[in-house]
Symmetry: C2
Subunit: 716 residues, 2 copies
């Protein structure tokens, strides 16, 4: 992140003047094409070439250095060799420039020497509070005719449109621009962020979120500059406009050696972590570049779909069925037609028409019926949008169909997507529809995919806005537990310490008391309530069961006496020298469903909460879900619902449902702990027993790992 | 299925003469466009219009009826109204025609009257042993210039190519043809099968399998004419050439009420059944029309990929990473480069190149290096194919890249797919590559998808060819068990009857003996071996546990005596009037993993075997898999491996692996039973306990449902 001049980054996107330092006349040089592109792109400000060895560049008077320019350039675009860049940035700063785009490569991406150069560039830009894009980037584009800035070395500009594209890969960005030209896809802004030494995707999300010309923001990233800031930023920006992301690098070549238990989970689930992050921030993660542009197309129209209820209007059965399948895959619904509407349409349409959803009008339809049918469907309160599929017929040309669609659309703001099946994307009928706000797709499935993205975005906008709940906790006790472990020089907390840390955050454990004599044990058992478990408490006995130090299922005082005596004998025999601190009398854990709740502290994402059903579900079937802490009530609920084994918690085979409210609250409390106590780098409650609805949940075992003392900060 | 004239269906695809009955001159009529299309499509035979009311059609001499034609037409194309079609088919048959395509609609698809007309059409065609396509279809195309037949009402012909397309939807087919023209996709054959009264997709698979011009067969189906014949046919055809299918209608609007336990599973898993069928027959099921053509494109080149090991060659990082992610999704592998090759390339390529897989040569590459690098990669024995991604650079034009790819390709038959990122599919460079056998895609993910399909097809061709094992079974006992139930008028077999049926097929059950006295019981327990289970045997007690009629875990004679006495008391109290046939002394089932093996008899697919882990995995998590019986050893193994819970059978947490060989054999035995005993419409072994490797498996409970007596045929 850079110390930018303005949140809108107007110094980058709409500078009144630009200096191109390193502009050139030599064919094939980046400085040559970049300067020409600015000239040729219809830039409405003043562009100055800077080059000490040319009197002019592309016929424009050239200046030997920034200081000689007749005015302070608002933006500098730098193409000089890497070692000279910091000096140029300094000159620009001195002259009063507000932004700088460093195209030059040879910085961090080439190793240590380059990284040092980059640090210097960043320092200079920060010194003058300049926005910095790059280094090692492809440049910046603003297609707004009032600005007309193409500060890249891409030869031609895509059409002006509503899609902003931010790319971490310059070449991919260049390819996309060319694709945009070939396929007539309109862009509003384009930024190649390169090494992200200054401006990163987070800054751009903020700026593009405020940009009136942009209706949808597309990101291509291979990593996130700051996962946590991304979450916060994207959550705000997605309230205003949709954000689509391709996060590549799902398959790291090397895999870190398995860490601890949950550690290895989180590692193998790293891509799942990105999924969770995007889901939590309202960003739609897209799998392929094809989908990215198909989704972007529909968002760029500004259409919105107020629910998932789609109607499919077709003039042939097969493509309608294909679309229906795809609709279900895309999360859309195909409700039956409202009976009065159905009755009307049955009268109006040919007898062989299938008046249902999909609605197959058959091929024998003229423009009037087409228009009236679509208008009637759009008018139905129970339907949120329409897909129109048209296959070639003898009765209507594709142009007739396009006109009928547009006529029906006039009266109604509901979204329509179209598939003029068989026509090339580049046909005039497709262009006619798209220019008039009807996104048109090659295949029915693609159109449905776009509508599905639209409906998902609306669902995000209208989700219940829950908050991060803050529970009253005993922070002093938590701090004390951590401090005690620190003082003892341990990083893995002892069981009682882990419990007291968690208990301080309201995580329920079974009632337990420590007894030194059988009388104390009997009294304790009365207080915690039978059935009880008796356990030896000794820091020197780690595997209590092995030495007969655990007795389960004690139901009454005589059994407790018997268990006590038996345990004393076993311990004398098996651990004669162990220092015994006492005996724990613990309420026996009731039956319920076993779940795991964990915390991982990720270098990029910060504290991450993990949830899954315990045992096999987590360990073997990897059925887990992640969310970044702090998480809201809705996210806690989503976590619970998103594991495959969720039906087990809902209750099957006549079982009562588990106490999901109690479970969600415990997840939220764990989230609060993860945020409050930064020393905790890893934590598992495994298992937590979730009882039937109304009966709460209770933790059985917990494991807490602290950061090494040198790394851990104080508990704030 | 029709009684066709030839397996190659040459009477449809390459007739020497065609009569168009219902040819017309009136604009907008199907008979007008169809006749014109045959003329205009460059048909190399003789086409005759037949119409009693015109002296000529499109300038060609017209005949009043088939009988008046100067020669017997090899093929008749019929466009007369539905009621007249059967008469025309009769005329054609009398004249000696060998095939007939009925375009006319108004048959089965419109109800009973139409269905009756259709029966008559089929009868006439069969009488003269004519191949029948349709009715209610869009026609037939053969693009081979030596034939040049466009017997459809689609205005223009797609280019000649290697893709055969069979569509159950005429309109979808028409759209696809138009798409083929727009996108320059070459077809060899096209058939719209309409109502499939005669020729169906199975006949066409056979014919197109033999067609030298066709390299890949595409099917669009909404249902299969005969699931079982499809399996057999497709298995043979896929040995010769790849078959891709879109099976739509995944989401039936209505859902049948839940049947019995496994019944409801199979119902909700109906689409999964298709998945299994396609997997078993080597047909690649494709999700979208886009993928269908992207996959078809690579198969139409005739390229084959001898393994999944892909190398990605790129001139920029980002698209390479995107492709790498997609490769893993498509089931491909990206092995590291062989060290000697890597060493050579490191020397040859710029220092900033990433010589790895993906291999990023960077943008600073000239044609020679490009060509040499690709040739070297193709030459590596450890790599099976290459994806070349090229983003726009200043150093090479797209044409240079295309030429470099083709130069490298010359020496090597390994498949190359290309992505000239940013170029339209319709650009000349893409055409140049594709004309020379390099399938080229808009986006890297699409190219990888195509290569993945290629590798999957090769894996199918080279799979271990296991056979259907036939076990020595006691068919007489099985027949007797069924006959006895039939005689008793029951369809749900009693437990002992179900057991004896299954035992006849070698499904192991715990040893059991029936005792009438405690002494008999003690003797029986000695023979079956402790621990044993004691159960009351009474046809009048269905819930034995409720009346104290089951005692588990009996470890020795005294315990057996005690259990015996206790059971007698309980039964006297709880079921004083029940007729008791005796008491079963059964070896107690050892511990192991619970699985379910079931059989469903599907009207279209015949017997289907179901497998999943028992209990929650099947019932709640729906983690089941299906295969059509009879199944081969490999299919049984695939079933076991394809459930999500398979790791539990492989052994986790230090457990030994389960006896998978025994499990596979039992699945195969169940498959044999399902095929042999057609009266069994439904069967569950639930649970079967699978013990550790080498210890076999044993069934605990079984449920067998027979067809109602009226429907069930005799056990062959």
């Amino acid at each position: 992140m850079t110390v930018g001049q303005s949140p809108e980054l107007s110094e980058l996107f709409a500078p009144k003047s630009v200096a191109v330092i390193g502009a050139s006349n030599r064919p094939g040089k980046v400085g040559t094409s970049l300067f020409r592109n600015i000239l040729k792109g219809g830039y409405q400000g003043v562009v100055y070439p800077v080059n000490p060895s040319s009197p002019s560049v592309s016929g424009v008077r050239c200046y030997p250095d920034v200081a000689s320019l007749p005015e302070a350039p608002e933006l500098g675009v730098v193409i000089v060799p890497a070692p000279a860049v910091a000096g140029v940035v300094d000159e620009l700063g001195k002259a009063g420039a507000r932004g700088v785009v460093v195209i030059t490569s040879g910085f961090r991406e080439v190793g240590e020497a380059g990284a040092a150069l980059e640090v210097e560039v960043v320092r200079r830009a920060a010194q003058y509070r300049m926005s910095l894009v790059g280094p090692n980037c492809f440049g910046v584009i603003n297609t707004d005719p009032a600005v007309g800035l193409n500060a890249t070395f891409s030869g031609s500009l895509p059409p002006t449109g509503r899609i902003a594209f931010v790319s971490q890969s310059g070449a991919l960005g260049a390819g996309i621009l060319q694709y945009g030209i070939a396929e007539r896809i309109g862009f509003s802004r384009f930024v190649s962020v390169g090494n992200r030494a200054g401006v990163d995707e987070n800054d751009l999300l903020v700026a593009l979120g405020k940009d009136a010309a942009t209706r949808v923001i597309l990101l291509y990233v291979e990593s996130l500059a700051d996962g946590r800031r991304f979450l916060e930023t994207a959550r705000e920006v997605t309230e205003v406009k949709p954000v689509l992301v391709i996060k590549s690098g799902r398959t790291p070549a090397g895999e870190r050696a398995a860490l601890s238990h949950t550690g290895s989970l989180a590692q193998s689930g790293r891509d799942q972590l990105y999924d969770s992050l995007f889901a939590q921030s309202g960003v739609q993660r897209v799998d392929t570049l094809g989908d990215l542009f198909r989704f972007a197309k529909i968002f760029s129209t500004g259409l919105s779909m107020a629910g998932p209820r789609l109607v499919i209007l077709t003039n042939s059965g097969g493509p309608g069925i294909v679309a229906a399948d795809a609709a279900v895959r895309s999360g859309l619904e195909l409700p039956p037609l409202p009976p009065p509407l159905k009755a009307t349409l049955v009268q109006r349409l040919p007898s062989i028409a299938a008046v249902s959803n999909p609605l197959d009008m058959t091929a024998d339809i003229g423009p009037n019926t087409y228009r009236e049918t679509l208008a009637a469907l759009l008018g139905a309160a129970d339907l949120d949008g329409a897909l129109v599929i048209s296959t070639p017929t003898g009765t209507m040309t594709a142009q007739d169909v396009a006109q009928a669609i547009l006529d029906s659309k006039k009266a109604n703001p509901k979204p329509i997507a179209a598939c003029l099946f068989g026509l090339s994307d580049l046909s005039k009928e497709v262009a006619f529809l798209e220019e008039n706000g009807v996104p048109t797709y090659t295949f029915p499935e693609e159109a449905v995919g776009g509508l599905g993205a639209l409906a998902r975005y609306h669902a995000w906008l209208t989700r219940p806005h829950t908050t991060v709940r803050t529970f009253a906790v005993d922070r002093a006790a938590a701090t004390a537990a951590v401090a005690k472990a620190r003082a003892a020089g341990t990083t893995v907390l002892a069981e009682y310490a882990a419990r007291s840390l968690l208990a301080a955050y309201g995580i329920p454990f079974p009632k337990v008391e420590t007894a030194r004599t059988i009388d104390e044990a009997l009294a304790a058992a009365d207080r915690v309530g039978y059935p009880v478990v008796l356990k030896v408490a000794s820091p020197e006995i780690s595997h209590k069961t092995d030495v007969g130090g655990v007795a389960l299922g004690i139901t009454d005082p005589p059994s407790l006496r018997a268990a006590w005596d038996s345990m004393q004998r076993s311990l004398r025999a098996a651990a004669p020298n162990a220092r015994i601190e006492g005996f724990e009398v613990e309420a026996q854990v009731p039956s319920g469903k076993e779940v795991l709740i964990g915390v991982q502290r990720d270098p990029n994402f910060g504290p991450v909460v993990v949830f899954g059903l315990g045992g096999i579900y987590v360990e073997v079937l990897r059925d887990v879900t992640f969310r970044l802490a702090p998480l809201r009530t809705l996210s806690a609920e989503h976590m619970i619902e998103s594991v495959r084994a969720f039906p087990l918690l809902k209750g099957v085979r006549g079982e009562p449902p588990s106490d999901l409210a109690a479970l969600a609250e415990i997840i939220e409390r764990v989230s609060q702990l993860a945020v409050d106590v930064p020393e905790v780098v890893e934590m598992d409650i495994n298992p937590l027993i979730v009882r039937a609805q109304g009966h709460g949940a209770v933790a059985v075992d917990a494991r807490v790992v602290l950061s090494p003392p040198s790394r851990g900060g104080p508990s704030a």
